[in-house]
């Protein structure tokens, strides 16, 4: 296995369930050790894509290679190196957390003590000998994460991994993922909450109704979308107002200060900043780059517009 080989290669992959086209012509490649996110609404095709990567569903069109194998051709050996966290992870409630994780560890050829270590890692050490039926949703999600991490996977597929996790557990979750990515594990996770991905994933692939509408780093997507930068400037009561561009909104505070919300194109940002500092005598300034949700809405809107045109 070459170090630079791609962990995941999709080429025009399509999946149709009866008359429903769940995935239409999706192509992308993930190199080893990258942490990437699939983003889209419910029904955008994220889960279907992951099932095809695992060989649980067969593509009706296109090609995909997972760790160098074709997943549809029953790849027991490759599956040993893949960890998967399903969207809604369920376990038999009668068994304890330790029993389940040890059973799954043996299936992957991993020694039981390593499995116990993973339970500790996700904070389930104290609950390991309790029946899973007594677990909370967050605990079950953590157990799901622990089983995905079994056996030093080279590829991790995590379907909506952060739902049901407390904020502090979320922090720990991202730390674990970063650690695995550093060790060379390729990680693909799906999400519909773009905001929490900022600063954590290297790459974002946006899906809409089975189609891929964008693929790149968050900064690249921002540039592609050319969304305006928003600013909030606080002015003293006696500051000049003549520089304020059209379309800006003003709100006068009780103490006479004035808060101005304005927006400008990304390439005019610096010019605007210079003008504000030189002329207005502003006392405070907040720079608000476009949020991921705005970015997301932009790409989806773009798609809807393209389809409306003949």
């Amino acid at each position: 296995m070459r170090a630079d080989a791609s962990s995941l290669v999709l080429d025009q992959v399509a999946k149709r369930y009866g008359r429903v086209e769940a995935v239409r012509g999706v192509s992308f490649t993930l190199p080893q050790g990258v942490l990437a996110a699939l983003v889209g609404h419910n029904g955008a095709g994220k889960t279907t894509l992951m099932k095809m990567m695992l060989g649980l569903a067969r593509p009706t069109g296109g090609q995909l290679r997972v760790l160098g194998h074709d997943p549809a051709a029953g790849m027991a050996e490759a599956r040993r190196q893949i960890g998967w966290l399903p969207e809604t992870v369920t376990f038999n409630g009668a068994l304890t957390g330790r029993e389940i994780i040890r059973f799954l560890a043996r299936l992957k050829g991993e020694a039981p003590p390593a499995a116990d270590g993973l339970l500790e890692r996700v904070g389930l050490g104290a609950a390991a000998s309790r029946a899973i039926g007594t677990y909370s949703k967050g605990m079950r999600q953590r157990l799901g994460l622990a089983q995905a991490l079994l056996g030093e996977p080279r590829l991790l597929l995590l379907d909506e991994p952060t739902t049901g996790l407390d904020p502090e557990v979320r922090q720990e979750f991202w730390a674990i993922l970063a650690e695995f990515a550093t060790r060379g594990t390729t990680i693909l996770l799906s999400s519909h909450a773009l905001e929490e991905l900022a600063g954590k994933v290297a790459r974002v692939i946006i899906l809409d109704r089975g189609r891929m509408v964008a693929d790149g780093t968050i900064d690249e997507l921002r540039r592609l979308a050319r969304l305006p930068v928003r600013m909030r400037v606080t002015l003293p009561a006696d500051a000049p107002r003549d520089w304020i561009p059209e379309g800006a909104s003003m709100a006068r505070q009780e103490d006479g200060r004035c808060v101005v919300d304005l927006s400008c194109a990304a390439e005019e940002k610096m010019a605007m900043l210079r003008r504000i500092t030189a002329v207005s005598g502003a006392t405070d300034l907040d720079l608000l780059p476009p949020t991921l949700d705005e970015l997301y809405a932009h790409f989806l809107h773009d798609r809807a517009g393209a389809e409306a045109r003949p």
């Binding site: 099932k51 695992l54 649980l56 569903a57 067969r58 029953g74 027991a76 050996e77 599956r79 040993r80 893949i82 998967w84 399903p86 809604t88 992870v89 369920t90 376990f91 038999n92 009668a94 068994l95 029993e99 059973f103 799954l104 043996r106 299936l107 992957k108 050829g109 089983q147």
Partner: protein
């Protein structure tokens, strides 16, 4: 192979956790002990061995009970896990689908086998300890009864697993399981009897009758235990059929084995092609 045994082991562990093993064992032991001691009193006077009486009464009972327990355990095996969502996770592991089906089958048969062996064995041990004289022939009949009972259970576990691999919902599986049970332990024999009476021996010869009996695992089991063994045959009132039939004990056991293998292979084939 390892995956197969791991799945079977997990199935047994789950069976013990949700009390299936305990319930089935206690039920079979209680019935066997009751029959052994209630049945022994009158039988002593007509000269039949105590254990033969137990073989006859227990195998009549097993025909109803074992298929029911087997179908109850197995009808949920695959469709239940698919509905709960645990099957997808299992199949994302390095495990083939046939290993899942066979592993679950083995686990269920182990549960059923242990319950039969312990439950019925308890009755034999109790009889021996009560000082009844039991000759080797009777022990052989008893051992044959236990072995064929496990085989009967395995046949219905295989049928239940097949149903479980076919259907889309647990409710459907349960309905079909009940139907299968009624058909094999009640309706089949009644229909056969009605057919024979209506036919008046005109067209249905003994070969056709044999074939019709082999088409039902419960009848193959009944013939094997009630008619196939010499001392037992006279006692069960099945001697008449046994005299007229060309079915030997090996044929009956082979029929039972076929009833285990055919649905099992069908279950593997159906599940392998299923879209998840």
């Amino acid at each position: 192979m390892k995956g197969l045994l791991l799945v079977a082991g997990k199935e047994i562990r789950e069976g013990m956790r949700n009390r299936w093993v305990v319930a089935a064992t206690l039920l079979l032991a209680a019935l066997a002990l009751t029959l052994a001691f209630l049945g022994a009193a009158p039988a002593g006077r007509v000269g039949a061995g105590a254990l033969e009486v137990v073989v006859v009464s227990l195998s009549s009972l097993s025909i109803f009970l074992l298929p029911l327990i087997a179908l109850l355990i197995s009808h949920d095996a695959i469709v239940g896990e698919m509905e709960r969502g645990t099957m997808l996770l299992l199949l994302s592991y390095p495990l083939s689908r046939w290993q899942v089906v066979l592993g679950k089958f083995l686990g269920h048969v182990a549960i059923l086998g242990a319950a039969t062996l312990i439950g019925y064995g308890a009755a034999a041990v109790a009889l021996a300890m009560a000082g009844e004289a039991i000759d080797p022939e009777s022990w052989r009949a008893f051992a044959g009864m236990i072995g064929s009972t496990v085989l009967l259970g395995a046949a219905f576990v295989a049928l239940g697993t097949f149903v479980s691999a076919m259907v889309q919902a647990r409710g459907t599986a349960a309905g079909i399981a009940v139907g299968l049970w009624l058909l094999s332990v009640l309706i089949w024999d009644m229909a056969l009897l009605g057919l024979l009476v209506a036919d008046q021996g005109q067209t249905i010869g003994s070969t056709t009758l044999d074939a019709l009996l082999l088409l039902n695992p419960a009848d193959a089991y009944r013939l094997f235990n009630l008619a196939g063994l010499p001392n037992v045959g006279q006692l069960s009132g099945m001697g008449g059929i046994a005299g007229g039939t060309g079915l030997t004990a090996p044929t009956l056991l082979a029929a039972l084995a076929a009833w285990v293998l055919t649905p099992l292979l069908a279950a593997v084939a159906v599940f392998a092609r299923r879209e998840l």
